[in-house]
Amino acid sequence: MYQEQKAHLLRALVKNVRYDGRKALEFRQITVEYGISASAEGSARVRIGGTEVLAGVKLDLGKPYPDTPDKGNLMVNAELLPMSNPKFETGPPGEQATEIARVVDRAIRESKCIDVHKLCIKEGELVWGVNIDICSMNDEGNLQDAACLAALAALKDARLPKMTENNEIDYEAKKTDEKLPIAREPVEVTVVKVGEHFFVDLLSDEEILIEARLTVAVTEKGTICALQKGGQAQLSVDDIDKMVEIAQKLAPSLRKAL
């Protein structure tokens, strides 16, 4: 069956008609909502077509790591809820959830999206910790790009909470107006190679076609800040050049939704 389904999908893709009528290098409609959670310091809901992802930012005070005494901490966690796809199970995070979290983490960390020096309150003793939690609400494909966009949107939405005199967070008081120090805005575009063709924003139904995929995180200047390769097939240097170029070209259209 999968072979027949694959052949059928492929026949359409070669004609540059996707399962839902889009072009090969076209994203579905993207919408971003901010401030969907009152208890998080920052939160956002991102929809790419039918795919829906929530992200929340929690800020806490803690000790810095010994090797980075003057930098704030960053942690990204992703959870794929069983209600978002029948394939997802409860329990410890699986391969896909781990990958999504790590690749989003990589994009945010390596792009120096957050100016972590500004999160330091007292060197070696007290820094802000930024915890990003990503949840899938509905999976109709391309969770990776949606997750990164949601994480970035939640970071932009975040406001620092008030601190008490003995350096604890005052949850009773209203949040301050101070935003997180966002220096760059990385977004991820996952480009997929099928045969000799390249596609973006795959639907779940199309995912059986993936031969090789490359997630490219791009900042607003077009700088590449993270890469992740997946799939069985190999990629030539030429392929990677083309895929990066596609990602760089499409990234602004994703950022526009923010």
Binding site: M1, H8, R11, V17, D20
Partner: protein, 239 residues
């Protein structure tokens, strides 16, 4: 206590709503008796026919009915047959005898006939009171579906998609050049040229959304005409 119907005919009721009081009334499909009351079992429109009170369901999953032609998906290969998913709370079994007219040798690998994930058109041959469902593929038009795609719609909207004597589906077929098989369980299989498939799926979605509105066939004819650039006229015809 007086015996009376508590709701108007064609009224929309929710599960648990009391429809009538009195022992002389009989619950039809979608309704049940709770001591002297007739109570709604699901969201639907009341239909009072003499003493029988039944509901026309407006939502909900497919409930298998004998002789329904449905699209099923193989979810398990058993010792002596296949288990099918029907877009329903209940799954069905198709035995070897009902599967094909071919001779199947003892100990043959059943996956060479129908493998996991395959879609087939089949017919419900038996439903027990415990909702054990048997399906068969012996009959005209019952076959394995190759390629194409399966679209899921609400089973309650299937009659609108098929149209009067299959007129609606015939119109979509003519306009898009797709092969379309509508299962009573709300699974619709379509296959054709990529562009046609996209239009056909959009058409089905549009019908599903506007199923409650009148003049749908004419509206769909215009819509399909605009989309495909062909002149599309509503016409009768067997599906």
């Amino acid at each position: 206590m007086t015996e009376q119907v508590l709701v108007k005919d064609k009224e929309i009721v929710v599960p648990g709503e009391k429809l009538a009081i009195g022992m002389s009334f009989l619950p039809g499909s979608g309704a049940y008796r709770d001591s002297e009351h007739i109570v709604a079992q699901r969201l639907g429109m009341v239909s009072v026919e003499g003493k029988v009170i039944k509901l026309i369901a407006l939502s909900g999953k497919y409930l298998p009915k004998i002789k329904d032609k449905i699209v099923g998906k193989v979810i398990d290969v058993l010792m002596t047959g296949w288990r099918m998913e029907l877009n329903s709370p209940y799954s069905a079994v198709m035995t070897l005898k009902d599967a094909t007219s071919e001779f199947i040798a003892r100990g043959a690998d059943l996956r060479q006939y129908y493998d996991l994930g395959d879609y087939v058109v089949c017919q419900v041959v038996n439903v027990t009171s415990q909702k054990l469902v048997d399906v068969s593929m012996r009959g005209p038009g019952l076959q394995k579906l190759r390629g194409g795609r399966v679209v899921e719609v609400s089973p309650q909207k299937v009659p609108r998609i098929v149209g009067k004597e299959g007129s609606m589906v015939a119109m979509i077929k003519q306009a898009t050049g797709c092969e379309i098989i509508v299962g009573q369980n709300g699974w619709i299989w379509l296959s054709g040229e990529p562009e046609g498939e996209v239009v056909a799926e959009q058409a089905i979605r549009k019908i599903e959304q506007e199923a409650h509105l009148g003049g749908l066939t004419d509206r769909m004819a215009t819509w399909l005409g605009d989309k495909t650039g062909k002149s599309v006229a509503p016409r009768g015809g067997a599906q």
